[in-house]
Symmetry: C2
Subunit: 316 residues, 2 copies
């Protein structure tokens, strides 16, 4: 019984999720505790250490079996140096998290950003199992992306490959500015934030829509209204799907991947979104680049972060 | 003196160019003969064999030093099987060129499409020397693309990665149909064909332009007129550059390459094109993805095909 295990850490603004994975990418045990961002960087790091030790103690495995700890975080990371450059949600700036955790835990540590880690999780143990050329989108507050080539995260020249939310896809006349400073990014229309903004605009414009009676519009409200046949809501959903589909078509001309995996809160909309994305992809992608290509929902949900973070060890 | 050499074959519709390269990617000798497409597939293959034998004979090297023959062709190729699926310019359809040439020459043979081969040539011995993450555009009759990762051609799932001419970048309202059947492909605006079409449209529309007096407009005429300050011509050049720049911005969010190399006849326009491409790229690419990224002209010109084809051996 000297099986090796890996702990994956999903470092979020509210909670830190830790999970034990075996070498096959199966999530065996999970634990979740508060991040306590308000208490500062040191407390957050203390908490990571504590939760990692705790989950191994409470498991049937012993500390010696722990071969490595991977961590994913929303923000800019320097993977090579193991530094979290900027993670606003957890209040980290230039934190050499790898060195700190390796020192404290006495185990090898690896980090990456949350979208890359989620992509790796889906390819390792989710909707991309066994697929060599995979591109993942995470549609949440923003739009994250991860490129998996040969089962590994593709980092690009400076570690920024797969920033798919910042592909400028909306034509100038209709574009608004993105948080990144540029115009027309995919994130401005296909994220939860983008969908909510478009819904509020519709209500303010006086469009006839059931959303006008909703107090605090969430992306889910827009999808629910669209499913009920609300035309304004349907236009918004189709717009989000249109630019997402166009972005997939663009990615295919570059990378010719085999599978697209769409995850994150917005992807929960289901077929009303996926049908339109597939239709737009088919419309704008040359036939040979469509052959055998699948566009599927992510299946690991909130576990993708933990699984992928553990996977940083076995898949890089 | 048992240095190994490689022959690169650039199989075009009019001429077959063959070149001897050493292991460092230096082009040592070249020979060019007619393709003779009109005489049929067998004659074309005879010619390839003849020119390869001839150039080695006429060189200071002997046949035993020839370690491999690479060939690039405009069209769809199955790299793994060594088959030219469809190459309209040379009249090839489903020709197992690798097996045929290996049999005839008694040497290992590799093939790929012309844009990939040109990209490899530029990275091996041209404008991308020593650059690990490189994306090349060839702006000719169409727009070809090649993705170089780690010094090698990236093929993608089904060998179609880097079909950059078919990224749909022109918004629906202004888009025209591409030869591939889809709307708004980069190729419809940033190829020589696209530029000539826009120029003819301008003349037909009655725009005030010196191009109205040109008999048979070529892309070069449009660039020359633009350099002279012709406003209609300048609008056309800027439009070609705008969508090319937007496509580069999109590629950067996917791949985060270090360098873009732009070659082909249209790239000869020089700074009037490159300045605008760089400006558009800067406008639509998030700052971190712009850092240290260069957009440069190809330098091998017509030799890229031969060098890259020879490189199929040493770089794959």
């Amino acid at each position: 019984m000297s099986e090796q295990i890996y702990v994956g850490v999903d470092l979020g603004g509210t909670a830190i999720k830790v999970g034990i994975c075996n070498e096959q990418g199966k999530l065996l045990h999970t634990y979740e505790g508060p991040t306590e961002v308000e208490k500062g960087v040191d407390t957050v790091i203390d908490n990571i250490e504590r939760y990692v030790r705790q989950i191994v103690e409470e498991s049937p495995f012993n500390w010696d079996q722990l071969a490595g700890v991977g961590a994913g975080v929303a923000g800019f990371t320097n993977v090579q140096e193991g530094i979290i450059i900027l993670a606003p949600n957890v209040g980290f700036r230039d934190v050499p998290i790898r060195a700190i955790l390796e020192e404290r835990l006495g185990k090898p540590v690896k980090i990456d950003n949350d979208a890359n880690v989620a992509a790796l999780g889906e390819v390792w143990g989710g909707a991309g199992k066994g697929v060599d050329h995979c591109v993942c989108y995470t549609l949440g507050t923003g739009v994250g992306g991860g490129i998996i080539i040969g089962g590994k995260i593709y980092q690009g020249f400076s570690g920024l490959a797969g920033e798919l939310g910042h592909m400028s896809v909306v034509p100038d006349l209709e574009a608004i500015q993105c948080g990144c400073g540029k115009m027309g990014c995919l994130e401005t229309v296909s994220s939860a934030t983008g969908i909510i903004r478009m819904a509020k605009d519709a209500v303010e414009r006086g469009d006839r829509t059931s959303l006008a009676t909703v107090e605090n519009i969430m992306a889910k409200d827009v999808f629910d209204a669209a499913k009920q046949g609300d035309e304004a809501a349907l236009r918004i959903v189709n717009r989000a799907a249109f630019y997402l589909g166009k972005s997939l078509a663009a990615v295919s001309t570059v990378l010719n991947p085999e599978r697209y995996i769409i995850g994150g809160g917005v992807s929960k909309a289901g077929e009303i979104l996926f049908q339109e994305v597939r239709a737009v992809f088919a419309k704008f992608t040359p036939e040979p680049l469509q052959e055998k290509v699948e566009i599927v929902p992510a299946i690991l949900g909130n576990d993708a972060g933990m699984v992928g973070a553990a996977g940083l060890f076995l898949r890089s």
